[in-house]
Symmetry: C2
Subunit: 409 residues, 2 copies
């Protein structure tokens, strides 16, 4: 029961010249359905990615880093759902490499030109035979208009497929940005894994693309949190095929860089928000804006302390304007010299905490009114400086417990 | 439905010479029952405390710190349940001071010789009139054998009153340590507040008592976590009345210090564990031991990452040996150079993760067997050094959501 989220209309996901996607049912995910997805990239495409900081990063994450570090072209991304290939030791590395080799044979490239991704159950061996058997079907189904199918093939506990597409005009030429994602979170993700794949036909130099993927991750996926946990497989990859007829975007000083980044950020933000809207058991989508921090990092600490507090999240589930828990969560962010008497907080448009205490104008009925809708905005002013940020999250419901207590059983 | 926890038998809570306790129903807590508790201390008693690090620390916490800093004697502790007197601004300070003054008048001491404590709803004004009206009844009921009554009078969402008592022989003299607590957590506490009051009749110098309360807090209350949140009112106070006929314990080099500390730690640990056993919605009591860290702090980071992960906690609720989530939580503790291939993990006596991967000997049936009981032990060896610690927590159930979604509504 995702919050105000529908699967993307396939027609709304614009093809990106130089990108083709295929899928297959390989029998990896227990509940069946397509679970193998191939993205084939035209020669000359550039790829950059950011990956989980979890110390138990899965084998495919290590192999991705290795292949990207080899500074070869990337010709394909191969993704399976249903098995994370994590905690699988040397066998896991071998399985990820075999997956790349099998893909490379079909495409006719070097195995190091393939990036592998896995999501699903941890500590179980990846059934590479099934992946090898499913790959030909992925090749048969390859098409530029398969983004929606691809989004479905990488789902695990997602209830809604996630995709978004935007265009931007650069030098008079229309450039496309299309992306898909699965899972819940990044740096602060949920049960299995967040995977996101975003592609553009703009030509972007490698260093500029590497900078852009980090900046966009910080402005989108790193601002979404479901339960504060971090998965072993999280990956966000940005592809630039270079097929659009504009000059190569060389670096961040290029005006076209800002224009493209803004468009990529918009797509990534929609995908990140979709992840929170589809958070396990979510009944509310919550936007937490914090301003007045000494810097952005301080504002982010406060926003995430609110967003990750189980007590705050259960209060959102109950539509309960429980100001005490919000106060507690702000105080819990580890700002030692916070002056409580400078802190203001709004629920929607209602001032509820005025200089650290309950606002004189606050009426419980107003709080109840703004807590009722499926979308709630919390705004905090710390009164310390000009650092600000926004974080998106969801509430904590009975169904969160149900989904996570029953996932494997 | 606390896990293997019964209210203390009043006869098991030994009087501490120099300590008398009284209680009253002052009408502060909505559900009724005794909600005001007074601890009167004989002249010459020494008191030391540790308090919440939350930036929105409640007015009574500030007043406690102020009164302790004044280095006067402490003659009484006055505690109310039902209202936390937090986020109440200048009125809150005034209310805490009026509470102390009223208590001081009845006892015949200076207001600075009274320490105030509050627990309950946040952001509502403390009804001091009701406290003043209830105080005479507290005086009438004063008695050395009122520890169990006192434990009941400070409960909020606790389902079971918490108390423990032990003795230790020092220099041939039997010394008593008795304590009570309420709530869930400290540094990592739950909904309202953790309050703990422990008293001994041993004579302890002020500096030694201040050291002991910190050391004991680190070894007991700071090792329990329910949901990772930190309340605005948490307080742990240690009282030494000095009535036992032994020489004053001057400092940590005194052999009697170690003996007394060990006894106080035992009582505080029982109280801390009681807090996790009575965690909101708890159905399991979980002990997480981590060894092999580079130091104790690193071991504690890993233990708390496991203990606070909602995904791990819901798996415990489901009695599901979900090794993947344990791996994820260890990897999530922020140890950048962790070598996953040196990590071992046991559930009970079953080795489940061997050098970073699933143990070859592991059978799902063995995992299911050790996850089934109400008490579960998780042991982790990080393989990095000799730092170790133990943390206690509980699981995350439907009832956690229910209790916290319905608390105010």
């Amino acid at each position: 029961m995702a919050v105000n989220l529908s699967p993307p209309d396939p027609a709304s996901l614009s093809p990106v010249p130089g990108v083709e996607l295929g899928f297959a049912e390989a029998g990896i995910r227990r509940r069946g359905g397509p679970d193998l997805m191939l993205i084939q990239l035209a020669p000359g495409s550039r790829v950059a990615g950011v990956f989980t900081q979890n110390s138990f990063a899965a084998a495919p994450v290590h192999v991705c880093r290795e292949h990207l570090a080899a500074r070869r072209a990337t010709r394909a991304l191969i993704v399976n759902a249903g098995n994370a290939n994590c905690g699988t030791g040397a066998r896991g590395f071998e399985a990820a490499r075999r997956t790349c080799a099998a893909t490379a044979r079909l495409i006719g490239c070097d195995a190091r030109e393939v990036l592998p991704f896995s999501t699903g159950v941890i500590l179980e061996d990846l059934p590479v035979d099934r992946i090898e058997a499913g790959l030909p079907r992925c090749m048969e189904t390859l098409g530029a208009d398969r983004w929606a199918d691809a989004a479905r093939a990488i789902m695990t506990t997602d209830t809604v497929a996630k995709g978004a597409s935007r265009t931007v005009t650069i030098g008079g030429v229309r450039v496309t940005v299309t992306g898909i994602a699965k899972g819940v979170g990044m740096l602060q993700p949920n049960m299995a894994t967040m995977l996101a794949f975003v592609a553009t036909d703009a030509p972007v130099a490698q260093a500029a693309l590497a900078a852009m993927v980090r900046e966009v991750a910080d402005g989108s996926f790193n601002r979404v949190t479901v339960d504060g946990d971090t998965s072993t497989n999280d990956s966000f990859v940005l592809v630039a095929t270079g097929r659009a007829a504009i000059g190569e975007i060389a670096d961040g000083r290029d005006a076209a860089y800002a224009a493209l980044r803004s468009c990529v950020l918009e797509v990534a933000t929609l995908l990140a928000q979709a992840i929170a809207r589809d958070g396990e058991g979510a009944t509310k989508f919550i936007t937490i804006g914090v301003r007045g921090g000494t810097d952005e990092a301080e504002a982010a600490r406060v926003a995430k302390s609110i967003a990750n507090s189980p007590l705050v999240k259960t209060a959102f589930f109950a539509s309960d304007p429980n100001l005490g828990r919000l106060i507690m969560a702000i105080g819990n962010a580890g700002i030692r010299d916070l002056d409580a008497s400078r802190v203001n907080l709004w629920l929607g448009d209602v001032l509820v905490i005025d200089r650290g205490g309950r606002a004189a104008t606050y009426r419980e009925a107003d709080g109840a009114r703004v807590m009722k809708p499926e979308e709630i905005v919390v705004s905090v002013d710390l009164g310390r400086g000009s650092g600000e940020t926004t974080v998106w999250t969801c509430d904590f419901s009975y169904d969160y417990v149900k989904i996570n207590a029953e996932y494997r059983t």
